[in-house]
Every structure is written in structure tokens, then in C-alpha cells.
């Protein structure tokens, strides 16, 4: 469906989408055709870090759109754009009970395309405040209490924040009965109000907090590095890249009957984003749900899982898995540690295709990232024994019905075999009774042309066309792929089917 043909004249059926990443600025020109877009041309140029419009207009030029900052061109096609904004807006979340409001606050921040840099339950103490002052997140999402519920913690936490040097925006999304008081206490801060993320016990209300976070993103990010001039020039606001992708995931779920249970893994140098679209809990699965019912469309971001900038933390997380894997090739862990040391000094390093060791190291890093990201995204079941026999208690999201997984981002876009070879599974003894609710039988696709973020920009305005084009643009890598989740590493050796490793999750 996606074709590329030469065309010089830009028409009114054209749509331009640009994604300004931290390293690359990508652009694509699409033509609308009933229920889908046709890709006319795409381009990639280095991001002009000091002044973003330079790279932006260069990318446009390469898709035959010759415009500059000035001009009064009448047939300029609509331009949509996103910005990764230094790896995403940093949000600290403050909630009350870890499994309730704090957990929901994290979900809200993630689904808004933010990165959660710190999370605090209950009362903020001096050390917590110190951490907030040091990190200076862009936003602090302050939650706690149902409407008419607990007031004490949000009140006391507001007082602690009022006395702090925190300079970012505070979004209050807690018990609405104390809004007036909070407004008084935090009068000196940049404070905004949203609806309670848990108005009644166990009830999720993510959308208002999500859109507030996006609002702050626009205010704070757009003003820097020339993005504001782009807003004036094209009359449209940018979206955070992960939010654009999230919008696309929702659009696909809404318009594609054949894509009702899927996941997207976007793995970069610093973070691994995991998106899922699937019902969280299946009453026919024979399990009893504990805790909150998670949303159908869910995103989590792991700031410590990535191929380059975060390689060090991946190493410390999955050291013993790496050691076992490398032993099969008669390699020692210190070789891999040296490689990771090299990556620290040169995060843009790409392994030489002829260097088998480096290729292997990258493959292991990728596996550790994917497995840990999936482990944190997925829920688990635990068998508990009752008077009426064993019962399976589910916590978190059930991913077992997921039948399609999409890989995106530099490494996954370029490689075929990430989910294809066997990896030993190590599970710490404490969680050995908990079984992760992973996908077990799925087809694996790759977003090889990096179109999903670009289509994500169009997804809010043209969901049907974006969804169809996104699905058509994928390359199928593996059909009906099966995963076994094994508890005993000894069982894995010599097993030809692939296994998602569980890493040494501490």
C-alpha cells in the first residue's frame, strides 16, 4: 500500500509530518487516499540542536517542501510535528498508597508521553524533598485520596513542597475536597488543577491529568530552541513523540478489528518504551483480579533500560544472565563489560557487522532490555491455596492474549532475530511463585521505515488513515512465534524455541 513515486508539486492532498528527535529529525510527506495515506517521500537529517527550525526546514526541503520561516504561501500543506524534548518530559509522581494512587499517577504520566524520574508514596520527608530539589523535574504530579477521602497527606505534602526550592509545575490531581486549601498553600508555585486520578476507590480517571501534562509540555518545551517560531509559522502545536505513538496505538485499536491485542516495543539508547493494547483482565481466564484494573491502552517507560546511554544499568541488572549466555560461546563477562565501557564513552557506536562479539553483546543487551521492560509492564499470577482449592490471583495487566508485537527504534528496526534465539531464564527465588503474564504466541513485526512516530503525529486528526497506513507499513519478521517462560535455566539449554529471559530482576 505504501509506495514511493516521484512528484515535484505539493498538492492540497498532502500531509507533512516531522519528528524532531534528540539526534535525528525525520520528515515524511503523505498523500491522503480514502482510508489510508500514501507515502510520497521521507527524509532524515541531523537535528540542529541549538536551533531546531534549521534541521526542521532542511528535512522539509528533502521531501520537496520548500518553505522557510518567512513567507505567505497559500498552498502550504498541513504540517504536523512532534518533539522528543530531551527524551521526554520528566515527571515526579507523589501519591498515597503505592499500589493505588501512586500506581495510577505513574500510568497517567506514562500515557501522556512523560518519563517518570521519581515516585514517592505517603508523606514527603526531607530526603524526598531534597531529591526533588536536586532533580528539578518539569512536572510534579501530586495525588492522593479519593474525593472526600484522605486529606492529610496531600495537605502535608503540599506544605513540604511550598517550603521547597522546586521550580517546576505542580499538577494537583488528588482529593478534590481540599483544592482550595492546596491553592492557598501552593500559591507561590506554578500550580494547576486536574480532576482526581482516582475519584472513587479503584476507579481510574487518567484522561484529565494526561491532558494537563500535555498542556504543560507545550508551555515549557515549546518556548526553547525555536520551537515557538514553528508553532507561529504553521499554526499547530507539537506533541511529545511518545504521546504521538500512544495516539497511534489507540487509533489502531479503534479502527483495526484484526489488531485488538498487540504490543509495541520502542527501544532506544536511553529508554525502552513498552505499549500494549489489550484488555487488562479476562474474567474467563480463571483468575481473581487484585488491585486496580489497568487501562486497555497502557504505556510504560523504563529509564534504566536502553542500548547505549543506559547500557551500564542493564549490565548491573542482567549480569548473571549475560554470564550464562556468554559461557555458551566461551566468552567471559569482562569482555562485555569492556564493550559497555566503550559505549559509555561513545554512545553513538554501532558494531561492525563483521565483529561477531560486538554483535552478540548488542543482541544480549537488547534481550535484557526487552525482557525486563516486558516484565515490568506485564502483570503476574500467583497460586494461592484456599479452602475451596487453589486460586490464581492476578495483579497487573494480562498480556497473554497479545498476538502481535511490533519492534521499533534503531536496533529493533534493523534486526530480524531479536526474539528468535534461546535465552536462559533466571528468576529470583522470592518471585518464583509469581508467573509473569507474558504473550506466548504472537507474530513479530518491525517498523523498519520508522513511520510509526510520523504517523502518530497524524493520528489525532486522521486516526483511520494513520492506523491503516501504520499496519500496512510493517514488515512481518516471524509468524506465530512461540515463547516459553521457563523457571529453570537448566531446561533451556539446547532448546530451539525462544524464551524470553526474565533477567536478574532485583
Amino acid at each position: 500500500m505504501v509506495t514511493s513515486r516521484q512528484k515535484k508539486i505539493v498538492t492540497e492532498k498532502d500531509f507533512i509530518s516531522v519528528d524532531i528527535g534528540s539526534t535525528w529529525t525525520k520528515a515524511a510527506r503523505f498523500v491522503a487516499d480514502n482510508d489510508h495515506f500514501i507515502l510520497e517521500k521521507r527524509s532524515v537529517v541531523p537535528t540542529s540542536v541549538d536551533y531546531l527550525p534549521n534541521g526542521f526546514f532542511e528535512a522539509l526541503k528533502q521531501v520537496d517542501v520548500n518553505v522557510g520561516l518567512q513567507g505567505n504561501d497559500q498552498n502550504l500543506p498541513p504540517v504536523f510535528f512532534s518533539s522528543s524534548a530531551r527524551g521526554g518530559l520528566r515527571v515526579a509522581v507523589v501519591g498515597l498508597v503505592p499500589e493505588m494512587t501512586l500506581h495510577i499517577a505513574r500510568l497517567a504520566a506514562f500515557s501522556a508521553g512523560a518519563r517518570v524520574c521519581a515516585a514517592f508514596p505517603y508523606r514527603l520527608n526531607k530526603r524526598n524533598i531534597g531529591q526533588i530539589e536536586q532533580e528539578q523535574p518539569d512536572i510534579l504530579l501530586l495525588c492522593g485520596g479519593t474525593n472526600g477521602g484522605n486529606e492529610r497527606y496531600v495537605r502535608e505534602n503540599s506544605m513540604a513542597l511550598a517550603a521547597s526550592n522546586f521550580e517546576g509545575t505542580i499538577i494537583y490531581a488528588g482529593n478534590n475536597q481540599v483544592e482550595d486549601e492546596i491553592a492557598e498553600i501552593l500559591a507561590e508555585k506554578d500550580l494547576r488543577f486536574s480532576e482526581n486520578i482516582m475519584p472513587d476507590f479503584g476507579q481510574l480517571n487518567l484522561e484529565p491529568a494526561r491532558s494537563k501534562i500535555r498542556e504543560v509540555f507545550l508551555d515549557r518545551i515549546v518556548s526553547g530552541k525555536g520551537l515557538d517560531t514553528l508553532v507561529t509559522r504553521f499554526g499547530i502545536q507539537p506533541v511529545p513523540t511518545p504521546l504521538a505513538v500512544f495516539n497511534l496505538v489507540e487509533a489502531i485499536g479503534k479502527y483495526r478489528d484484526d489488531w485488538q491485542n498487540f504490543a509495541l516495543i520502542d527501544m532506544g539508547g536511553a529508554t525502552t518504551d513498552f505499549y500494549s493494547f489489550s484488555d487488562s483482565y479476562h474474567p474467563d481466564s480463571g483468575t481473581v483480579l487484585k488491585g486496580v484494573l489497568e487501562p486497555k491502552a497502557k504505556r510504560t517507560v523504563e529509564g534504566d533500560l536502553g542500548m547505549r546511554v543506559s547500557a551500564n544499568s542493564v549490565l548491573s541488572l542482567a549480569e548473571s544472565m549475560f554470564e550464562n549466555e556468554l559461557a555458551q560461546y566461551d566468552l567471559k563477562l569482562n569482555l562485555m563489560s569492556e564493550y559497555i565501557e566503550k559505549l559509555n564513552h561513545n554512545p553513538s557506536h554501532l558494531p561492525d557487522r563483521k565483529n561477531a562479539n560486538e554483535m552478540l553483546f548488542d543482541q544480549l543487551l537488547a534481550k535484557a532490555c526487552i525482557n525486563n521492560a516486558m516484565l515490568r509492564h506485564a502483570g503476574s499470577v500467583e497460586e494461592v491455596f484456599t479452602t475451596s482449592g487453589p486460586v490464581l490471583a492476578q495483579r497487573g495487566k494480562d498480556l497473554r492474549k497479545i498476538d502481535k508485537i511490533v519492534g521499533s527504534g534503531g536496533y529493533l528496526a534493523a534486526s530480524d532475530h531479536i526474539l528468535n534465539s534461546s535465552v536462559s531464564l533466571q528468576q529470583d527465588s522470592e518471585s518464583s511463585l509469581k508467573k509473569p503474564l507474558f504473550p506466548t504466541d504472537f507474530s513479530y513485526y518491525v517498523d523498519a521505515d520508522y513511520l510509526w512516530p510520523l504517523l502518530g503525529n497524524l493520528a489525532a486528526a486522521y486516526p483511520l488513515q494513520s492506523a491503516n497506513t501504520a499496519v500496512a507499513s510493517l514488515k512481518l519478521k516471524q509468524n506465530n512465534h512461540k515463547i516459553k517462560v521457563l523457571n529453570n535455566p537448566a531446561l533451556v539449554n539446547g532448546n530451539c524455541c525462544s524464551t524470553i529471559t526474565q533477567g536478574a530482576h532485583s
Partner: protein
Amino acid sequence: MINVVLGVIGFDCHSVGNKILEAFFVESGFKVTNLGVMVSQEEFIDAAIETDARVILVSSLYGHGEIDCAGLREKCIEKGLENILLYVGGNLVVGKTPPDEVERKFLKMGYDRVFGPDCELEKVVELLNGDLEAKKDCD
């Protein structure tokens, strides 16, 4: 409005009485957070914290109440719910233990009121209103 948390503790699945209790307490003017059946101590406490409940109403029908209910008071104190009222009712122990002995046992565990399976709900609400009034000064 006074917030109350209601649920059937442990691995007990008896849901009929739970629905009756919910309807009754709602009708009596309380804001009820009903956690349903198979509720752990932690879930009772988490719900009570978020909703700022004044009382936790624990039911147990299947005879394992003693082991399920032990330690809830201590956990509440640990989690900062020093002043919360704990009510418990149902078939709390298996066998023919006399009701006053059962009551003594659960009072010792830190429950404020203990009820058998056939108590009058009007009486429970009356006692609750009195206890809440008496607790007012503690808050």
C-alpha cells in the same frame, strides 16, 4: 459523610451477606467502599487510607476468621490508622465455641465490636454512630 470500608476477609467467597451489608450501610447514610469477597488485610488498609475511612467492617463466614483477622489492628497502627474503628462479624470460628468467648477473643485482637451471624443490623449502626461520636475527640 462518613466513609466506611467493607469486605469479606481471607479466601472467603460468601458474597450474599456482603451485598446486604453494603445496601444497609448505604441506606443508613454512610459512604461505603465495598471491596467484595476475598479481601486481604492489606487491601482493607489501603482502601481505608485512600478513602479516609473511619471504620473497617470485616466479615468472615467460612470459619477461618480467627487466623485471617489476627494482626489487622497491629497493621493498622503500623500504617498510621491509629484511630480507626474495627468491626468484625459472621461465623468467626468453627465449632461450638460460646459467643461470649468468641467475642473476648476478637476484642483481645483489637477489634472494637464483635458480632455473630444473626445480629441486628440496626443495632450495629446504632453502636457505630455511638462509637464514632466517642472517637471524635481523638481526631
